[in-house]
């Protein structure tokens, strides 16, 4: 079976997703959106893994992807917890207003 959709297609898509995620991290001021962007990046990784997994006819990649999801979940949970704690103290979710620590 030679599908015209090759692994490279997925790689390109993954790279695009990675880039878009990075764009979000770099540009958006809203912390929540930045966290979502990180989710995007991790999903890009997953896309890669699944594509390779398919390519190699293995399931190892998929298992890796599951772990990535776990990590994403954990980071999101902790991140949102931290955000709430911060929000309690500072009443803002805009990153460029969070600049007590500098220089």
């Amino acid at each position: 079976m030679s599908s015209p959709i090759t692994t490279e297609h997925y790689l390109v898509l993954s790279a695009m997703l990675l880039l878009i995620g990075t764009v979000g991290v770099l540009l958006r001021r809203n912390v929540v959106v930045i966290m979502m962007s990180i989710e995007l990046i991790l999903n890009a990784v997953n896309l890669n893994l699944v594509a390779f997994s398919h390519h190699l006819q293995q399931v190892n990649g998929q298992i890796f992807a599951i772990f990535i999801i776990v990590v994403a979940v954990a980071e999101a949970a902790v991140g949102l917890g931290i955000l709430i704690a911060l929000f309690r103290n500072k009443e803002t979710v805009l990153v460029d207003e969070i600049d007590l620590l500098k220089w």
């Binding site: 990784v45 190699l56 969070i98």
Partner: protein, 489 residues
């Protein structure tokens, strides 16, 4: 495939199991038994006990390796215990123990003394375990993330302190970004090798051209993720902020434990499986090392916050350690190990003094807060002197031997210009370390401040680190042997 879970597996995993067990137990006990913050000091006993058990387990492993030689692999090669990993495990163990010992008074002062704290310390250590012992990408990654996520929490542990929140958030967001890159790199490595095992990846890297674009992509993104963890420039930006905002004990833990664990991984990856691609990564590490040394030193020069200063100093040290990896020969690797060992003690010690400075209503983070320390508490003053002199790399302290090994390896491998560069920046670093020394010894306190917040644990920690810093400088032989043992396969 027939045997699912062997005795070897158990033997290898045992320390991690113990740590996790005691960590979880601490979490549980905190909920049930110690409602009063004062009593929570007892939870430290869990940590100490856990570490003791783990130490015994490590000792058994060491014993086994010494008699049988080689290494132990477990879980189909997912975990490895060799002298190398044991070396790092002991660093983690000592670090966690000392951080635990010197924490409780500090956390009480900061009104955030919770049982979770000790549990999280141990869970972070468990994560580190997998960084040093993991021999498979998924294990490594999940270990790394366990450590990282724990640190996010720990950095933000002072919930009511805006700075702590901010530090945690910054660390988390940048950490997430870097984890993404690291994971991306790992995924490419997996795709190229068709396996997540480092052995296969090594085979793959050896068989492929070093200029293979996908391999380079994998290498680049992996390097980014790891350089971030060791806070090497230009991926260091989180460090000063996270260090400053975090509770000082956690800063120490972050500066030492996290960095050592990441170096354990970086060294294992770069010199082991990716060693074949040395031509590709060496210039990157050189650049990162040089940048780290420059930025770490320059930024520290005018710094007035001690924790930030030590953060920059940590960046600088990361640069030096990277140079050992750049040299890459046995001397260099031994140098990395010795340097990390020394770095552990001297940095922990320096932070211990800072912890003692943190009193009710006094952050103790400004350089001026060190003023007159020698008069106020000569023991602490002398200890600080030892640590700072060691950080500056002046004999007869351990710091000298760390730097010495780095120079040694650079010269041995013909990196003369790097050696000269590194040597020159030693002088720059002296400039700011001695500013601290000057504060401790020469300057006088302007107004009377409350007594230092010391505790038995802190004193023990200070004693261990101080003595070890000196011993490493005056009689490093046993440790050199250990390092030698660690790199011999």
């Amino acid at each position: 495939m027939s045997v699912f879970y062997t005795a070897t597996d158990h033997f290898v995993l045992l320390p991690a199991l113990l740590l996790a067990l005691f960590g979880c137990a601490t979490l549980l006990f905190d909920f049930w038994v110690f409602p009063d913050p004062k009593q929570r000091r007892w939870l430290l006993m869990f940590l100490v006990l856990g570490e003791l058990f783990a130490a015994v387990a490590y000792w058994r492993q060491f014993d086994f390796l010494s008699s049988h030689g080689g290494e132990l692999t477990a879980f189909n090669g997912a975990l490895v215990v060799d002298h190398y990993s044991l070396f790092f495990h002991s660093i983690f163990l000592v670090t966690t123990l000392i951080v635990g010992l010197m924490s409780y008074r500090y956390m009480e002062v900061r009104d955030e003394h919770h049982g979770e704290y000790y549990g999280l310390l141990m869970l972070a250590q468990t994560g580190m375990f997998f960084l040093a012992s993991g021999y498979e990408l998924v294990t490594i990654f999940i270990g790394l993330e366990t450590m990282a996520v724990t640190f996010y929490v720990l950095v933000g542990f002072l919930r009511s302190d805006k700075r702590s929140n901010e530090a945690a958030l910054k660390y988390l967001l940048l950490g997430g970004l870097s984890s993404g890159f690291l994971a991306y790199g790992f995924s490419l490595l997996y795709g190229l090798a068709g396996s997540t095992k480092l052995v296969d990846i090594g085979r793959m890297a050896a068989s492929r051209d070093a200029n293979d674009p996908i391999l380079l992509m994998a290498l680049g993104t992996t390097a980014v993720g790891l350089l971030f963890k060791i806070s090497a420039a230009p991926f260091h930006m989180w460090a000063p902020d996270a260090y400053e905002g975090a509770p000082t004990a956690i800063t120490a833990f972050l500066a030492v434990g996290s960095k050592a664990a990441s170096f354990a991984l970086l060294l294992r990856l770069m010199v082991g499986p990716l060693g074949a691609a040395r031509v590709a990564w060496e210039p990157i590490l050189v650049a990162a090392a040089v940048l780290s040394i420059i930025i770490g030193n320059l930024a520290a020069v005018t710094q007035t916050n001690t924790k930030r200063l030590l953060a920059y100093s940590g960046i600088n040290h990361a640069g030096y350690i990277l140079l050992g990896i750049v040299a890459g020969n046995p001397t260099g690797i031994k140098g990395v190990l010795i340097y990390l060992l020394v770095y552990t003690f001297m940095t922990l010690g320096a932070f211990a003094v800072l912890i003692a400075l943190t009193r009710k209503g006094l952050a103790g983070e400004d350089i001026n807060d060190l003023n007159g320390l020698m008069k106020k508490a000569p023991g602490y003053g002398i200890a600080m002197l030892i640590f700072l002199v060691s950080l500056a790399g002046i004999p007869p302290t351990g710091g000298f031997f760390g730097k010495y090994y780095i120079f040694l390896s650079l010269i041995e491998t013909g990196h003369y210009s790097l050696a000269v560069f590194a040597a020159l920046f030693v002088a720059v670093s002296v400039y700011y370390y001695f500013r601290l020394i000057r504060a401790v010894f020469v300057d006088t306190e302007e107004q009377e401040t409350p007594a230092l917040s010391t505790s038995f644990g802190l004193k023990v920690g200070l004693g261990i680190t101080g003595v070890m810093t000196l011993v490493l400088g005056m009689y490093p032989e046993p440790f050199l042997r250990l390092a030698q043992l660690s790199i011999s396969r």
